[in-house]
């Protein structure tokens, strides 16, 4: 049985301009100990979906439906008080910008202690000792001294380590990492990813890694969800997504990666156009306006289903025949998305 099972999650925001369908029927599951990568452009709903699992998008203007079963409990339906017992305890979350995500007025140690004592009934001294231990675990040097520093006295990478330490405070079963490396420079990114991998091995927790960076996915994920405009467009194992991608959007993402083993292209490949407005998404397949392989059938929403007999867990949302896809996706000897003539 999976650790977290999300079914038909829908998140809508009422705005002055109309209803934004930020997440439009997303279903997925996470097994204990695995790393699920969720990849997509800004605004595709990947963060909102994960924030909603912890109830962090609840508000007057938000409508949520669907379910998120975690240990026999539906996190979407449960009340906020019950959710508070889950947050930071069984499911922890870390965010993109560690500077703005830590409170600027409290010492790092105090923020760690708060995360511990809210779920554990232990004294301040013990909590502080645990805070030092956590900082050490995530590789902050001289933790017994740094525990009394303020966030602005930490470097970017150290701040993200402190955030991770805070998330680990109560041995969560699931860690949701929302763009954990986006605000960091490249060398620090690699260190943070290695740290997450090491901690996952040591602590045996599951990780949902939300990112727009396929490179990050390639290094860490076991399984991958590709999201576009509020929907999952493809899902499969890391190898399936990277070596046998079925959805044209995935081809476009893979095609826009720069590769060191190929000559440098004149201009980096890109996907033409912009993601659709979630206020007025296109009828049918959301990727239709940008897809060079669009045809009549695309006016209907393709179901997310397995189209490959040999890989029943590899799902996608594209009407094209698998054989046709395999020929269409090869652009200049590599996987990519053909650009229509300008």
């Amino acid at each position: 049985m999976s650790l977290l099972q999300v079914s038909d999650l829908q998140v809508r925001f009422e705005t002055e301009d109309g209803t934004v369908k930020a997440v439009d029927g997303v279903s997925f599951e996470v097994d204990a100990g695995e790393t699920l990568g969720i990849v997509g452009e800004s605004g595709c709903g990947k963060s909102v979906a994960n924030l909603t699992i912890l109830g962090l998008t609840r508000g007057q203007n938000t409508t949520v439906s669907g379910s998120a079963m975690f240990e026999g409990e539906d996190l979407i339906a449960t009340d906020t008080e019950q959710l508070q017992r889950v947050r930071g305890n069984e499911i922890a979350m870390i965010f993109q910008d560690p500077l703005s995500s830590l409170h600027p007025f409290y010492k790092v140690g105090a923020q760690l202690v708060e995360a511990i004592t809210v779920h554990q009934d232990i004294g301040r001294d013990k909590a502080r000792a645990r805070a030092v231990e956590l900082l050490e675990l995530v590789g902050v040097p001289a933790p017994e001294r740094r525990v009394d520093d303020y966030p602005h006295e930490f470097s970017g990478g150290m701040r993200q380590r402190a955030m991770i330490a805070m998330a680990l405070a109560n041995d969560p079963k699931l860690l949701i990492a929302d763009e954990p490396t986006t605000a960091l420079d490249v060398t620090t990114q690699a260190q943070i990813l290695q740290l997450l991998e090491r901690l996952q091995d040591e602590l045996g927790m599951a990780v949902i890694l939300v990112t727009h960076d396929l490179g990050v996915i390639a290094e860490t994920a076991d399984r991958v969800l590709v999201m576009y405009a509020g929907r999952i467009v493809e899902q499969g194992t890391l190898d399936e997504i990277f070596y046998d991608p079925q959805h044209p959007y995935t081809w476009g993402l893979l095609g826009s990666l720069t590769r060191l083993d190929r000559p440098r292209p004149e201009r980096l490949p890109q996907i033409r156009g912009l993601p659709p407005s979630l206020l007025f998404p296109p009828e049918g397949c959301h990727f239709r306006p940008r897809c060079p392989h669009v045809h009549k059938q695309c006016e209907k929403v393709p179901p997310l289903e397995s189209r490959l007999p040999e890989a029943p867990a590899h799902l996608d949302r594209c009407w094209l025949e698998p054989e046709k896809k395999r020929s269409l996706r090869v652009v200049e000897d590599r996987i990519g998305l053909e650009e229509p003539a300008a």
Binding site: E81, R87, F95, S100, S101, P104, F105, H119, M166
Partner: protein, 321 residues
């Protein structure tokens, strides 16, 4: 930090000199009437006026007069004598300060006590009925002129002319030394009047500051940790939202002690600093004006220094060198 404070204090002293020189200059540049003639009375001969001018030192050039003033101030903490009543200015001000301080301190406590709950609740329950009602009330409160609000309250609640005579009215102020109860009850209406507009402004300020803060990433982190909403709001939200309020508070207290409470003092006939300087301006009583302005400048400089020091404690990112 210490270096910073010393530097600020020296700057403050320099500023006080500039302020005093400016008041001197303005007083002489403006056609404010001849203090010697005013002092001598209506039937005085020119000789008498000259004699008074000589005793007061008004026949000397302005820079000599200024020099005497500054010298006495530094050596003896002597602000000179009122042209009008001949009493030492220092005494006049010290007599009036307790009344102003009583008025201001009570009003500050009152407006903070009102503004905090209102500001916090209306920020957290944005666009609720409570929020709309208080935002309209606060708009009305700070649009209401102090003298009007004062008269309305007197008409309603003063024990002599009021429709519901429950509080002492005009001219009932007594110093705290002659009984705390009477002191406080006589000040209730003035406190409400003086606090009204500020309570409204502070509530709105806190509301918008807290709304901004509640959108910060670290508030999301606090929620993601599993903290209860009350703790998220108070420990993480309000803690950040008060810093701009502290700035405002420092300036307001300084200004009110410097004489800005004059309207309230006038409506309720409270013998405070505001009314002292008002009379002094009316009678061209330079030493009193000069003294009050210097005290006022002193309060403003002091409170802005206190605010800046408080900032370093409120926000650990602020460091002075």
């Amino acid at each position: 930090m210490l270096r910073y404070i010393v530097r600020r204090v020296l700057w403050g002293i320099g500023l006080l000199f500039i302020v005093s020189a400016l008041v001197f200059l303005i007083f002489y540049a403006l056609p404010s009437g001849d203090p010697a003639a005013a002092r001598a009375g209506r039937l005085a001969t020119p000789q008498e006026i000259d004699r008074i001018r000589e005793t007061l030192g008004l026949d000397k050039p302005i820079y000599v007069q200024y020099w005497y003033y500054v010298r006495d101030l530094i050596l003896h903490f002597d602000f000179g004598f009122s042209y009008e009543s001949n009493a030492p200015v220092r005494e006049l001000i010290f007599d009036r300060l307790p009344a102003t301080m009583s008025l201001v301190s009570g009003a500050v406590i009152l407006w903070l006590a009102a503004a905090f709950p209102v500001g916090i609740i209306s920020a957290v329950r944005q666009r609720s009925a409570f929020d709309r009602a208080t935002m309209i009330t606060t708009l009305a409160l700070y649009s209401a002129p102090v003298f009007w609000l004062g008269l309305v309250l007197l008409y309603l609640f003063a024990d002599d002319i009021g429709q519901f005579p429950i509080f002492p009215g005009q001219g009932t102020y007594t110093p705290i030394s002659s009984g705390v109860f009477h002191w406080a009850s006589a000040l209730i209406l003035p406190w409400i009047v003086l606090a009204g507009a500020s309570a409204a402004i502070y509530a709105r300020y806190l509301r918008s500051s807290l709304i901004d803060v509640m959108g910060e990433d670290y508030i999301r982190t606090a929620r993601a940790k599993g903290l209860g909403e009350r703790r998220v709001i108070m420990r993480h939200g309000v803690r950040s939202a008060i810093t701009p309020i502290v700035t405002l508070l420092g300036i307001d207290i300084g200004l009110l002690l410097a004489g800005n409470a004059i309207l309230t003092e006038s409506v309720f006939n409270i013998p405070g600093v505001g009314r002292l300087v008002f009379t002094a301006i009316d009678r061209s009583d330079l030493p009193v004006i000069q003294g009050v302005v210097l005290f006022g400048a002193f309060f403003i400089i002091t409170f802005s220094l206190i605010v800046d020091i408080a900032y370093a404690y409120l926000d650990p990112r602020v460091r002075y060198a």
